[in-house]
């Protein structure tokens, strides 16, 4: 990685020119302009088109897929019209440029703008300093949202990682590894919204004897009272929502742990067994230390994911019955109450909450020798 690949002579014909020719400048400007104009026109065509939906779908997919490739193709072609020394300097930026532009426009700048908005009042007209932040931490609803988010992150992540590890270990020793892993991993492919529907059938509650919800049917079968699991059973209803996350995310943890466990060298395990170490001792003494960096990666991923949790709560309870989390509160403040200052502040609070995770990730990356 240290030595750079030196591009040898480029396409024939370009090598001789060492000065920037006017033709090259014109060509590259033309290519840039043509890309913008053509894609803009296609965009307008789709916006105003009244074609059959199937045809629109096919054409749009073609445009989306081929368009990007063509942009890269034409831009590199334009750069190749320049002399070698210029080309070598510009080409990397052509390659990373689109990524940087899109991220800058749609992720980095917005984060800064949201930070700015968080110091203004509801309609973004008056500067209010830190009072939005003060308000958030004194508001009862916000306190609930923050508490619930903590609960989600802590319980959800812990359960996903532990279950994932347990199942990975079990599957590793089982003869039905493939099918078991498929079943556990399957919920990853299901949308939150569909998962919401699935779990409504588990938690469904109606007064009386006949229950159509699985959980209440089991409870009444054993002579218990049916419960309104996701609404009236506060604050435990949050746990019943978190179970859905565990159901969906454990598979992710499991697959990665499973791969890591397979990476533990067999001879170490054999040596430990010969020395008379039990399976539990092998697990804690050899496997856990060996896959510790994987555990960190998985934990980080799930923490980040859980902090942003939105869909499950939105679909299951809409944030009622004290199940509000930061992301649903944010959505409500912003899109229903039009309270921009408050909404932005919530987003920033979320960002601050994940900051330590960024730092840990970067450090880990440096350790791995990335940079």
């Amino acid at each position: 990685m240290d030595a750079q690949i030196k591009p040898e002579a480029g396409a024939p014909g370009t090598q001789a020119k060492q000065r920037i020719s006017g033709r090259a400048v014109l060509l590259s400007l033309g290519v840039l302009l043509a890309n913008i104009v053509i894609n803009g026109l296609i965009f307008l065509f789709f916006r105003d088109s009244t074609l059959n939906p199937l045809l629109t779908a096919v054409l749009a997919v073609l445009w989306g897929v081929l368009g990007v490739y063509l942009i890269y193709y034409t831009l590199t072609w334009a750069v190749e019209q320049y002399p070698d020394r210029i080309r070598r300097k510009v080409l990397p930026y052509v390659f990373v440029g689109p990524a940087v532009i899109i991220l800058g426009w749609l992720l980095i700048l917005p984060a800064l703008r949201t930070l700015y908005l968080s110091f203004f009042n509801a309609s973004s007209e008056k500067f209010v300093g830190l009072s939005n932040y003060a308000a958030i931490f004194s508001d009862h609803l916000m306190a609930t949202a923050l508490r619930n988010n903590l609960l989600w992150v802590f319980v959800g992540t812990l359960a996903c990682v532990c279950f994932g590890l347990l199942i990975a270990i079990l599957a590793d020793r089982s003869s039905y590894e493939r099918i078991a892993k498929s079943i556990i991993f399957m919920p990853m492919a299901i949308s939150f919204v569909a998962a919401g529907v699935i779990w409504k059938f588990v938690y469904y509650y109606q007064p009386g004897d006949e229950q159509i919800g699985l959980l209440n049917a089991i409870v009444t079968y054993f002579g218990g009272e049916p419960q309104a699991w996701t609404s009236m059973l506060q604050p435990w209803n949050n746990f019943f929502l978190i179970i859905i996350l565990i159901w969906m995310q454990t598979g992710f943890a499991m697959v990665i742990f499973s791969a890591a466990i397979k990476g533990v060298p067999d001879d170490i395990l054999e040596a430990a067994r010969v020395d008379g170490a039990g399976e539990v001792k092998i697990f804690f003494g050899i496997m856990i230390p060996f896959i510790s960096s994987t555990i960190l990666t998985v934990t980080t991923t799930i923490i980040v994911f859980t902090l942003k949790i939105f869909d499950v709560v939105m679909v299951m309870t809409g944030g009622q019955y004290d199940t509000e989390v930061v992301a649903t509160q944010f959505y409500r403040q912003f899109f229903m109450y039009r309270n921009f200052g408050y909404g932005s502040t919530l987003a920033i609070v979320l960002l601050i909450a994940v900051l330590p995770v960024i730092l840990i990730n970067l450090r880990q990356f440096r350790k791995q020798g990335g940079f």
């Binding site: 965009f43 990007v68 529907v197 960002l351 970067l362």
Partner: protein
Amino acid sequence: MVGKKKRKSSKTVVNLILGVICFIWILPTFGLFASSFRPAADILQTGWWKVFPHQEWKAGETLQLSKDVDLRQPIEVNGKTYSDDQLKAGVKADDSRLMWENRRARTVNVQEQGWKATPDLTLDNYKNVLSGKEYKLKEADGSETVQKGSGLSQAFWNTLTIAVPATVIPVLIASFAAYAFAWLRFPGRKTLFVIIIAMLVIPIQVALIPVLKDYTSLGLNGSYLGIWLAHTAFGLPLVTYFMYNFISQLPKDLFESAFIDGASHFTIFSRLILPLSVPALASIGIFQFLWVWNDYLVSLIFIGNQPSVQVMSMKIADLVGSRGNDWHLLTSAAFISMLMPLAIFFLLQKYFVRGLMGGSVKG
């Protein structure tokens, strides 16, 4: 010998525990699957497990009570007394259940439990959901008109139109960037890369409002391009990180000979890097596809309410919210939305898992 025997018995225990976990894991999904084939009335009255053979009360012989029985007093049937309300709901007596057959005619039915083995299943739910439900609307003049709500099929095509480019675009852009970060040297390389990795943890909520404002002023709201770009931006950090891990591990000698032959970076990228990266491209592509396909929040904000552009997750969330009693539509709609991800998941599972291993397990 002893050790081997112990191993075997522990293997049975492992399989047993794993079996129980798998059973619990698949049960909720199976419930949805079974429900989606049941008639609307059945779904609301009994649990989905009733599709299996089960015991049910069946009408048996009829008892005729004498005409002068006072229904307000405890009623004597077969030597025992029951109240009117009890007979209305059905009351157990020995092995059978007593229930009014016709209260006016004063006939009581003695029901007995019997096995019911043939479940009532139907495809109507799917038909209704795909073609749109019919609503009866009362006009001002009192006449009724039947209106068809929009079906899921339009939403299905919308979702596909969004998901395919929103998968290809970020994967392609990220691969170009990853190649440059891994194999080209340029000023600002480290800084840019660290910034992109840091973006991994930015909650997208932070970006939604400013982006929405830009989109509104550019007219990108509710357009395919707008939603592709949004999904691209939100997926890009992870895809770049993932592709970098893969592309930077490729052996260097591979490109050197290509350079000597006079190939440009673009040629090397499209002729060498892309074909070599197929396992990684496939697995991260599947992931991105599933995320976009299953996304709700981004669509909710950038797509808007017109039915012509709505995606499936919005449609279903709509069904959950506004018509909580249409369980039969909800179940089949949810299942239809799961078909594509599940198919992809089971067909391409091999790549999925292999790619995941390449990306995140580096010891």
